[in-house]
């Protein structure tokens, strides 16, 4: 830490580095106290949650401040680690701080004795993971970025392999690491293009380069490939539904909530900040990929029968929506319409924040359910709202927000995104104008379907009758878990009710990226969210909620005074069939059946129908990801065939080996002769 001034004169960046160092110390302490379970669970994790809160505060205060730069002595000799804190990174730091506070608190209560790897080791991996995420966001040169980028993948790989006794988890970990590394190789080549042969890898130099449109497009496509592999965009998403359910729930919450956003941060940093040229078809490409991913993700999340896979696919869907937002903003800024670009960018960034909060809340709730019942498939859950109210109500907030329903954050993001789509009619090329209805329709469909998924998720797990006897004595979340979930739920509600304040935070970021912002339009009316002008569109969540609450209270008072009859408890209406049991409720597969029927070509289904003579008739349908059979297995087969061909090279006979060197000698002599 060269030239470390006195702590009081530290800039935001120094404080952030202090938080990072503190986390690493937490990790090391965890390893030192490997077996002392109590100390790690109730001691380390809560403290790291406080540090996360500190980071949140720092990020908020640094939001408006100008960019700060620092250089760390570690790194290659001519290329020490450059760090830079600008509004884009402080925005993402805000997301990291907020979410990791809740998740760390939840993790404190999550660990039970004697499960998988010792909690001390997990504590180390977790804190390395957090530290590397923060450093990725502030890294300012290619080498530092790549080092912390893959350290993030590396440490999260070990988190995924926490209980590596189960073979499926090992396979999931392998697939995760493989796609992460291939993505990183793509990024390496992208930075190779960006440094434009100057040998200087700092981002400042990359910004100064003026690449030819061809090289800029090569860099952009490589960046989308590299970051897309990590964000789970369509062709490279297969690892996400395997890896996230495999990790322990608090960490899959962090991976889903934050790590996918860091990949999107990467796309933003390269396409908006490092590349000066902007070409219109980049936006269209990003939008196409985003839309395909979101449609694919949401359709698959409706038919899942395992709760964490359902959430993983829904993360894919949300990442797709964000990418569509960024693509639209890129399209607008390519045509110089900065105001509309700012609107689309704000919509996407709003979606980033709200998704971070509600998705980690949902993953934490699955974690609590998994711990209480030891059951992860939806077919054996149900009626948990009675035994686990502290888990049910926050996850209701999370589910409603994920479904994009009005009073919560998810709706505001969707509202802004749909508004931004209304302005594409101003685009010069007529083909792009045709884009409006198709994309807007798809987004509306995706939003509606995510509503469908969330009803299935919440209804099947928490409502109805418990489908398994052992569920009746499932204990509620302990106090740490409650704190973590409440913090995330409050985050969702705040994001829903105070959009103006949040857009105020997002404004410096949009000014940095597309040099325009919504702040002055939004600031004009404090309680009303007016993106462009009052008569165009406006939405005020506070009044909206007030309206609903007022009607709620009106009805309640009206009924209370008018109504004289009491209430009586009785068994539910069974329409004359007394032997109804919990198994007769609608199962998860049942709930997904209409979607499977409508989107039939998208799936790859194996159906096992019982024959009429079975005494134990069993109906089972397994839905597979078609991309496994269109993309991943063919690639593996090609590699297998190539290696078998090359394997023939080494076939044991010494005469053949001598022949190789002989032929090489002749060939080289021929080459050299000319």
């Amino acid at each position: 830490m060269d030239g470390f001034a006195h702590p009081t004169t530290w800039v935001h960046l120094d404080w952030i580095l202090a938080v990072v160092v503190a986390w690493l110390v937490m990790g090391v302490l965890g390893v030192v106290a490997l077996r002392r379970f109590q100390f790690v669970a109730n001691g380390l994790f809560p403290i790291s949650a406080c540090f996360s809160l500190g980071l949140l505060g720092l990020a908020l205060s640094a939001m408006g401040a100008g960019p700060e730069v620092a250089v760390l002595p570690i790194g290659l000799p001519q290329l020490p680690f450059h760090l830079r804190l600008d509004s884009l990174s402080s925005f993402f730091l805000m997301v990291i701080g907020g979410v990791s506070a809740g998740v760390s608190a939840f993790a404190a209560g999550y660990f039970r004795k004697g499960e998988g790897t010792p909690p001390g080791l997990i504590c180390l991996e977790y804190h390395i993971f957090l530290a590397s995420i923060v450093l990725v966001v502030v890294a300012d040169d290619a080498y530092a970025f790549m080092v912390v980028w893959e350290t993030m993948a590396f440490s999260s790989f070990f988190l995924v392999m926490a209980n590596h006794r189960i073979p499926e988890i090992r396979n999931a970990g392998y697939l995760y690491m493989l796609v992460a590394h291939i993505g990183a190789l793509g990024l390496l080549l992208c930075f190779g293009v960006l440094q434009a042969n100057t040998g200087d890898y700092t981002f400042a130099n990359m910004r100064a380069q003026h690449l030819s449109p061809f090289w800029a497009s090569v860099a952009f496509v490589l960046a989308v490939f590299g970051f897309g592999a990590k964000a789970g965009l369509l062709p490279l998403h297969a690892w996400l539904p395997e890896a996230h359910p495999a990790a322990p729930s608090p960490f899959s919450a962090l991976m889903s909530g934050v790590m996918l956003k860091i990949a999107l941060y990467g796309i933003l940093r390269v396409s908006f900040d490092l590349l000066q040229t902007r070409i219109w078809w980049w936006g269209v490409l990003l939008m196409a990929i985003g839309l395909a991913t979101s449609l694919f993700g949401v359709v698959f999340s409706t038919v899942q029968v395992e709760m964490k896979r359902l959430l993983a696919y829904s993360s894919i869907e949300n990442v797709g929506l964000m990418c569509t937002g960024f693509g639209l903003s890129l399209l607008f800024s390519a045509y110089g319409m900065t105001a509309f670009a700012a609107l689309a960018m704000t919509a996407a960034l709003y979606h980033v924040v709200s998704h971070a909060f509600f998705k980690s809340l949902l993953f934490c709730s699955t974690g609590a359910v998994l711990h209480a019942t030891g059951e992860r498939s939806l077919g054996k859950l149900g009626g948990l709202i009675r035994t686990m109210p502290w888990v049910a109500w926050p996850s209701l907030i999370g589910a409603l927000s994920c479904a994009g329903l009005p009073p919560f954050g998810g709706f505001v993001a969707e509202w802004l995104l749909l508004q931004s789509f209304l302005f594409t009619t101003g685009l010069p090329s007529s083909f792009l104008n045709m884009l409006v209805p198709v994309v807007a329709a798809l987004i509306a469909l995706v939003a509606a379907l995510s509503g469908y998924t969330m009803v299935k998720y919440f209804g099947v797990i928490f409502l109805g009758q418990p489908r398994d006897e052992k569920l009746s004595f499932s204990h509620d979340a302990d106090h740490w878990e409650r704190i973590g979930m409440l913090w995330l739920a409050v985050g969702c509600v705040v994001l829903g009710l105070f959009p103006n304040q949040v857009i105020g935070w997002i404004d410096p970021v949009t000014h940095l990226l597309v040099s325009d912002g919504l702040a002055q339009a939004v600031a004009a009316s404090s309680w009303l969210l007016v993106p462009v002008s009052i008569e165009r569109a406006s939405y005020s969540p506070a009044i909206f909620l007030l309206g609903v609450m007022a009607c709620f209270a009106l009805a309640y008072l009206l009924v209370r005074r008018l109504y004289k009859g009491g209430t009586r408890r009785a068994p539910p209406w069974d329409c004359g069939y007394p032997w109804q049991n919990a198994r007769m409720q609608d199962t998860a597969e049942g709930f997904g059946h209409p979607i499977r029927q409508i989107f039939e070509p998208l799936f790859r289904m194996q159906r096992e129908l019982p024959t009429p003579f079975d005494e134990q008739p069993l109906y089972r349908v397994t839905v597979e990801d078609p991309l496994w059979h269109w993309l991943y297995l063919p690639v593996a087969a090609v590699v297998e065939r190539c290696s078998k061909l090359i394997g023939l090279l080494q076939q044991g006979r010494i005469a053949v080996y001598l022949m190789y060197s002989f032929v090489t000698l002749i060939v080289v002599l021929l080459v050299v002769k000319q």
């Binding site: 023939l648 090279l649 076939q651 044991g652 006979r653 010494i654 005469a655 001598l658 002769k673």
Partner: protein, 219 residues
């Protein structure tokens, strides 16, 4: 006498080339070893002549060394090995002799065309023999490839060493002493090790056929 020496050296060079050609087409191991000894003798003669022509005493030392090794010690060793392991039957080749001959001729043409531009520039009197030395090296290389028994492969390897030593002496009038000595030592130790190996292979596989040395491969 001095003016005859370049022709004599070229004569010995062609003799060495002819011998390595003969070794390729040889079927019986014992005559193979004799041909190798003759090649060694031709090499000694060439270096002695060269030493005499360029008045360099250390060429005589290297000739003596080659004589001791390549003409006396190694053939005796090989004969002993053959008697001990009673490996007398003839040499099995992977591709039949005529085709090896054709390939050999092609190799000689190739090495000549390669060495021609260089030998014109060479200052030493036996510049032309570079092409012949290269041809010897390639021919013995090809012999090692086409032989399926351990002993002929070793002889191929040693005749390649002959070719190299010949190139060293004729093209550059001999290398510094320390290097010559080092090369000779390496060759000697190499042969000793090969002998030890042959005993072990013989005892492990009770045959010297290279075919049973093919277990390590990619299935």
């Amino acid at each position: 006498m001095i003016k005859f020496v370049p022709q004599l050296i070229n004569l010995f060079a062609t003799l060495i080339l002819m011998l390595s050609f003969a070794m390729i087409s040889q079927r019986r191991i014992v005559s193979l070893i004799n041909l190798f000894t003759m090649q060694g003798a031709a090499l000694v003669a060439a270096s002695v002549l060269l030493g005499y022509a360029t008045h360099q005493p250390d060429l005589y030392v290297s000739a003596g060394l080659t004589l001791a090794l390549k003409v006396v010690l190694i053939p005796w060793l090989l004969h002993r090995v053959i008697r001990r392991l009673n490996v007398r039957w003839d040499v099995e080749t992977l591709i039949n002799i005529p085709t090896t001959m054709l390939v050999g001729i092609a190799l000689v043409i190739f090495s000549f065309s390669l060495a021609l531009p260089i030998s014109r520039l060479s200052s030493s009197i036996a510049g032309g023999s570079l092409g012949i030395a290269l041809a010897c090296v390639l021919l013995s290389f090809m012999m090692m490839i086409t032989r399926s028994k351990a002993v002929p492969q070793v002889i191929g390897f040693l005749s390649m060493e002959n070719g190299l030593i010949f190139a060293a002496t004729t093209v550059t009038n001999g290398m510094p002493m320390i290097v010559e000595f080092g090369i000779a030592l390496d060759v000697l130790v190499g042969v000793l090790i090969l002998g030890v190996f042959m005993f072990q292979i013989r005892e492990k596989f009770d045959s010297l056929d290279i075919h049973n040395l093919e277990a390590l491969k990619e299935d």
